[in-house]
Symmetry: C2
Subunit: 482 residues, 2 copies
C-alpha cells in the first residue's frame, strides 16, 4: 500500500464517518416526533386494567402499556387546575398563582366565574413545540380560566374544541344534598349549563355530557389525520370520568363496573381510536403518546368516584392516592417496553417534550421538571430524585428516593379537609409500603432530619405569587359566560 | 349420472364425512393438552405488575397475562391446606375434613406434626389426568399431611420434590415475640428444621429456604423436558412469598419492593423459565399454564406480607382480600387473550382439566367445580354464578352475580380473629365496589333475602365430615418427621 493510498483511504473513511454523523444529526434534529398527551379527569391509580382494576376492562390501554412503558411512580398535582397548569408549564402551582388565598375559603380551582386564568406570560408545552414548527391542537377540558384572554388560543394552541371548565360547574338545580345530591347520581345534561367551545366561540350550550368523550375523540382523530405530514402536538384532555358521570349510548352498561366503569371504558375505546389513527396514517413510529390523569379519584362520590387501588386516599390530598396517577408512555421502536418504577411527574412533560423536539425552554423562570427521555429510551436512570407535594400554596410532604415525609395531612377533598400538622413528620417507605400504612419515623431519625432539611431548603427557593383562584366575577343564575 | 353412480357418490360422501368426524374425535380426544398449575403461596391480589403492584416488577407474568387471559374474579380458599385440597379435589374443604374442630383452638391448617392428611380416597387432578395417560409431577409445597401415607405419591403423582408443610413450621428458635419475631424479619435457614423431600424420602434437612424457588424451577424445567413427548400434568406449588421471606443470591435487592418484592420477582423469573422450557421443547401451543395463589396476603407481617391491592383485608378472612387471587391462564392459540371478569375458582380446575383431557370425573361424590373451558376459548360465558365463602367449616359469606352477603366476618388471621355475626347480613356490590366499602343491604332487601335463601339451601346440602386438622402427633423438639 502506498502512502497516497493510505491518505486516500483515510480521507474516504473520514468522509464516510462525517456523512454518517450528519445523517444521524439530521435524523435526530430534522424529524422531531409528534407528541400526544391524553389526560383523563379524576381517574384513579387503580382504575385501568393494567393498574389492577378488578371490574373495569381497558384492553386498548393495557395493550399500550404492554407495548410501551408503564410508570408506577408518576405524579401529578392533587386537584384539577393546578395539575393542568403544572402539566402545561412544568412549574409548581405555587409559582404561577394556581392556588387560593391561604387559610381562607377560597376555591381550590378556577371556578366557572373566574376573573383570572393561567397568566398569558406563562410558557406552555404548546408554545415550546410551536417554536419548532409544530401544529398544536387541544381537545377537551381547559380549566385554566374561562375568559377569552385566558383560553387555549392564547397559550399556544392553533385550535381547540372543548369545555372552559369542569362539567359539574354552573349547576342549575339546587345543591341541597351536598356531594350526595341526586343530580350527580342520576345526572341529566340539563342540570348543568355548560358551554362547548370551538376556539373562542361557544358552539353549544348546554352541552350534552354524554357526547363529550365521543366528540373529543372524533376531533382528535381529525386533527391527527389533518396534520399527519408535519410534527404536531395534541393535548386531549378528557372531561371524564369526573362526575357527573356520562357516556355515549354505545357505552351504557358496557362495563361490569357501573357508570364509572362505562366512562372509563369509553376513554379506553377513545385511546384505541387515537392509536389506530396513528397507525392508519403511518406515523405511529414517530409519535410519543402519553396517557395519565390529572389527580386521584374523587372518593366522596363513592361508586361514582374511582379507586386509588393499593394507595391511600384520593383527590385533594397529598397522600399517594391523591397524586400518584396511572401513566403510560408509548412510542413503538423508541420507548423501551416494560414497567418502570422511576419517579416521574406531570411537571416533566414540557422538559421531556422540548428535549425530544430539540426546542429551547425559557431561561427567565424556574422550571420544576426534568427530562425523562433517557428512561423512555431505556438508556439511563430517571433523573428525578425528589418530589414536593403541595396542597394549594402549602408544602405538605416531600419524597426523596423511596422515603416520604408528611408534615401536614388532610382527608378527602369535598369533606371539609381537616388539617393535621405532624411534628415530627410521618415517614413512609413508599417502595415497600406504597399504601402508607407503617410510619417508620421513629426508626429513621436521620432520614426524617434529611427530608426536613430538604423541605426547608425548597421553601426558601419559592416565592409564592399572588393567589388567582379567588378572583371571581359576580354572576346571576341567568347570566351566560362571554 | 346413473343410479349406481349416485349411490356410490353418496357412499363416498358418507365415508368422507365419517372419516372427518373420526379424525375430529381423534384429534380432540387423542391429543390432550399438557396442564401446568403454578401456585404461589400467600401472594396477594395486588402483588403482580399486571394486577397493579406499584413497586414489584413481574415482566414475565405481565407478558403471560397479555398473551393469555387475566382473571380478575378468581377465588381460592382463605388459608393454605384447605385451598390446596380444594384446588386438587374440586371439593369444598368442608366436604373432606379440611378444617379444625369448630369453636375450638384447633389449627386452621395441617401442622408439621399432623397425624392426618387429605384422605387417600379423595380423587385429585393428578389421578384424573393419570387415567388419561398423563405423566404427573409435583414440585413444591404439599401441606396436605406430612405422614408417608398422605404424601403426593399416594395422591396420583409420579414424582415429587418439595416440602411436606410450610417452611415457617418446626421453628427452632423461641417464638417470644409472636408474629413480629425477629426470626421472621431477619430469617436464617437454621431457625427452621424443615425437610426437603424427593418422593417419600427426606433428602436435606434443614433445607436452605433461599434455594427453594431456584431448585423448584430447575426441577420443573427438567420434568417438562423429560416429558415433552407425552401429555403431562405439572403442579408447581411455590413455598414463597410466604414468610419467612427468602430468595437466591441473584435476587437479593432485585426488587424496589424489598425482600417481599425480591421473592415475587424470583417467582416471576421462575414462571419465565417454565414458559421458555415449553417454547424450547415446542409444546407451548399444546400446554395450558395456570398461575394463581393459594390465598390472600398475610397482612400482619406488614412489609413481609403482600398486598391485596384494592381489596379489603387478607389471608384468613372471607373479605375479598383473603380469597380473590391474581390468576392468569395461558395457552397460545387456544386461550383467547384478554381480561375476563367472569367468576372462577380453584375448585374449577379439576373439572376444567378433565374436560380438556377428555377424562372422567368420579360420580360418587359432590364436586363443587365447574368447567371454565368455554371462557378460556372465548366461546361462551362463565358457568359459575355462585360462590360460597368458608372459614374452617363455617359458611361466612356468599356471592351470587355481583352481590356478596356477609353473614359472619372476622379480621386478619394470626391476630385473634374476632368474629362478628351480621344480622341482617352486610351486602356489597362487588362489581362497583370491589373494596367492600359501601354496605347496600338497606337498599336491596330483596337481594339480601335471596342470598340468605341461597346460603340456607347450600347449608342443607353440606354434611361436614370429621375435622382433620386437630389430629396431632406429640413431638419433642429433637424429634424428626418419619
Amino acid at each position: 500500500m502506498t502512502i497516497l493510498s493510505i491518505i486516500v483511504s483515510g480521507l474516504l473513511l473520514a468522509v464516510a464517518v462525517l456523512a454518517a454523523t450528519v445523517d444521524g444529526l439530521v435524523a435526530q434534529a430534522g424529524a422531531p416526533p409528534n407528541i400526544v398527551i391524553i389526560f383523563a379527569d379524576d381517574l384513579g391509580y387503580g382504575d385501568l386494567g393494567v393498574f389492577g382494576a378488578p371490574s373495569i376492562r381497558t384492553p386498548r390501554l393495557d395493550a399500550m402499556a404492554a407495548e410501551g412503558q408503564k410508570w408506577t411512580s408518576f405524579y401529578v398535582q392533587p386537584v384539577c387546575s393546578p395539575s393542568r397548569a403544572a402539566l402545561l408549564t412544568g412549574r409548581l402551582p405555587v409559582r404561577n398563582g394556581m392556588f387560593g388565598t391561604p387559610g381562607g375559603t377560597a376555591p381550590k380551582v378556577f371556578r366557572d366565574n373566574a376573573a383570572a386564568g393561567l397568566p398569558p406570560e406563562e410558557f406552555t408545552i404548546a408554545e415550546v413545540l410551536k417554536s419548532r414548527g409544530y401544529a398544536t391542537g387541544m381537545v377537551g377540558k381547559w380549566h385554566l380560566g374561562q375568559r377569552t384572554e385566558f383560553l387555549p388560543m392564547r397559550q399556544g394552541f392553533d385550535s381547540w374544541l372543548g369545555l372552559p371548565f369542569s362539567h359539574d360547574m354552573r349547576m342549575t338545580v339546587p345543591r341541597d344534598k351536598g356531594l350526595q345530591t341526586d343530580a350527580y347520581y342520576q345526572p341529566k345534561p340539563e342540570y348543568w349549563d355548560v358551554p362547548l367551545m370551538r376556539n373562542n366561540d361557544v358552539i353549544e350550550r348546554p352541552v350534552d355530557h354524554r357526547t363529550l368523550t365521543k366528540r373529543y375523540t372524533e376531533e382528535a382523530v381529525r386533527f391527527i389525520t389533518a396534520n399527519r405530514a408535519r410534527p404536531f402536538f395534541l393535548y386531549l384532555a378528557h372531561s371524564l370520568p369526573h362526575i357527573p358521570l356520562a357516556r355515549s349510548d354505545a357505552f351504557v352498561g358496557h362495563s361490569a363496573g357501573g357508570m364509572y366503569g362505562d366512562a372509563v371504558e369509553e376513554i379506553d375505546w377513545s385511546t384505541g381510536q387515537v392509536i389506530d389513527a396513528l397507525r392508519k396514517t403511518g406515523i405511529d413510529r414517530r409519535t410519543l403518546v402519553v396517557f395519565t390523569s390529572d389527580n386521584g379519584p374523587w372518593l366522596p362520590f363513592r361508586t361514582h368516584g374511582g379507586s386509588s387501588g393499593p394507595l391511600k386516599e384520593g383527590k385533594g390530598t397529598t397522600w399517594e392516592g391523591g397524586v400518584r396517577a396511572p401513566a403510560i408512555f408509548w412510542w413503538p421502536g423508541t420507548v423501551r417496553p416494560g414497567a418502570v418504577t422511576d419517579m416521574g411527574s406531570g411537571l416533566d412533560l414540557i422538559v421531556t417534550a422540548a428535549a425530544l423536539a430539540g426546542a429551547t425552554l425559557p431561561r427567565d423562570r424556574v422550571l420544576d421538571g426534568v427530562d425523562l427521555s433517557a428512561v423512555l429510551r431505556g438508556s439511563g436512570p430517571g433523573p428525578r430524585d425528589k418530589l414536593f407535594y403541595y396542597w394549594d400554596s402549602e408544602l405538605r410532604a416531600i419524597r426523596k428516593g423511596n422515603y416520604k415525609a408528611h408534615f401536614i395531612t388532610s382527608g378527602a377533598y369535598g369533606e371539609g379537609e381537616p388539617r393535621t400538622v405532624h411534628t415530627p413528620p410521618l415517614l413512609f417507605d413508599l417502595a415497600q409500603d406504597p399504601g402508607e400504612r407503617f410510619n417508620v419515623a421513629a426508626a429513621h431519625p436521620d432520614i426524617v432530619a434529611d427530608l426536613t432539611r430538604e423541605a426547608e431548603a425548597h421553601r426558601l427557593t419559592v416565592v409564592p405569587t399572588e393567589p388567582l383562584f379567588d378572583r371571581l366575577i359576580a354572576l346571576t343564575p341567568g347570566q351566560r359566560m362571554r
